[in-house]
Symmetry: C2
């Protein structure tokens, strides 16, 4: 007998073994994940943890998860999927601390913005009883904190799942279905490819926004208009998290900065020499590439 499993049946089939999702870190993204699970997969029990008592209190008050635990060990016990939503450089020690409490077959993932280092740390820590797969939902805001958690934050967002040759295929399938159920578009690639691409499209915009803000004096900034405000928006993101991201992806960040400096030098040369044709060509290239991007995002339904 052959079963053809499609659509809803496939989803139910793949996720049917799951009972509990635990999210470590109740910031904007962590709390948005538990809220999204409650909305889209209400049968699943959601458990949250934060190392800050004040955040745990707020999380309980808002009701972002079925249960908020006071310890990491208690939070991960019985979880089918554990999701780290804490700063990247906490991952290694968290992996070590939760390891004894994880149930056999548990999938550990994270929502970190770099993927090479977390996989390395997971391999150093976990035995074959635990399956680590990296995730990176491309969703967020310059706002931070459990009070900004939203059950629709992942709707229409891209979510990258990273794998190498040792990654468990069944776990990838489960996570793919899990993130899709929360409304994200899942793409799969290697951690190295992920870190190169996101150093360009995510880390570099942050670096640029910071550099532009710091290059502008406090007295001039009052004349800034909507253009400056939008161009620098991401610079308002939490510095501790972004410092971790850039340092966990240092080589790619540095390559990106130097590519950007080359582009700035091209513009400078055209401006200095009064080469209107060359300058217009550089501006046109950006204008056209951005049009491609916006058209693609509209086609994909990522923006409307």
């Amino acid at each position: 007998m052959v079963f053809i499993i499609t659509g809803l049946y496939r989803k139910v089939f793949i996720l049917q073994g799951l009972r509990q999702i635990t999210v470590l870190g109740m910031g904007l993204l962590g709390s948005s994940v538990t809220l999204a699970v409650s909305r889209a997969l209400p049968r699943l029990r959601t458990v949250g943890f934060s190392h800050r008592a004040s955040t745990r209190d707020k999380a309980r008050e808002i009701g972002v998860a079925d249960e908020i635990c006071d310890s990491l060990e208690e939070a991960v016990a019985g979880a089918d999927i554990v999701i780290l939503a804490t700063p990247i450089f906490t991952f290694k020690s968290t992996f070590e601390q939760i390891k004894p409490s994880l149930k056999r077959g548990c999938i550990v993932t994270d929502v970190g913005s770099t993927k090479v280092e977390p996989l390395k740390w997971a391999k150093e820590t976990f035995s074959k009883d635990v399956s680590y797969v990296g995730s990176h939902p491309i969703a967020g805001s310059e706002k931070r904190g459990v009070e900004y958690g939203r059950d629709d934050l992942l709707l229409g967002a891209n979510c990258i799942i990273t794998k190498d040759r040792s990654t468990d295929v069944a776990s990838i399938e489960i996570l793919k279905e899990f993130w899709s159920s929360l409304g994200a578009f899942v793409k799969i690639m290697s951690p190295a490819q992920h870190d190169r691409i996101f150093s360009r499209v995510s880390h570099l915009p942050h670096i640029v926004a910071v550099a532009l803000t710091n290059a502008t004096s406090s007295s001039d900034i009052e004349y800034a208009g909507k253009g400056f405000i939008d161009t620098t928006r991401v610079a308002s993101g939490p510095s501790s998290i972004w410092s971790d991201i850039l340092l966990a992806n240092a080589r790619n960040s540095s390559i990106g900065i130097n590519m950007l400096i080359r582009e700035l030098e091209k513009i400078d040369a055209a401006v200095k020499s009064g080469d209107s044709k060359r300058l217009t060509k550089l501006l046109d290239k950006a204008c056209n590439r951005r049009k491609e991007l916006i058209d693609l995002k509209i086609t994909n339904g990522e923006i409307i």
Copy 2:
């Protein structure tokens, strides 16, 4: 007898002699100015001109001004204020072309993003019969064209009026009242100060957005999220207009680019050496400065 002229009376008094406003260039900003005049100063006759017949047709169809003329000369005849809303490098030839048709005492201004060169050209062209004062309403959009004109585009926007020692004081007062009536916050400074400040807060964001977009390959760009989209938004602005702006403010643009490169090098050095403390300090500086900016804009009622 002493008259104390305040509030509405002051406005009526200062603008009472005006009968006609002519706007040359029916793009987003030009058509927004005529529409705003019709809304806020309905007693004034609005006349528009575009060198493109198709734009004139559209402008007439939408009804952005009381009259759309087919020639520059016809458009400026009888105007009390003539506003150039065309690309900067058209100003000099436009000044020369309209000069014989301007009525005595006419105020000529513009909405260009640089102010040193236009003043130089005006001084080279006009006699004392005509009063030139530079204006720069900080309003716009990456959209272009008469169809995007809006009568509220100037509401809450800053508008810089530039003057030097030779600028007619009465004309400054009239323009100040004029732009205020359309909902803008007017600030007065020298053309040189304007061009330095706006190279930082307006031209540099554009340069940065272009450089970032051009540093990102077509294949990577599909992974761009909201951060990249916002950081590069202004790069979708019209390249011909922006090429003019950067070239008309070349020295300041180049200084700005090099200040930005120094800031990028600071970040690169911190990332390469793994100096978390130094990196966090740079990120914090930007985060705090941007908070100041946003707080200021909220206090000023420029954003809500």
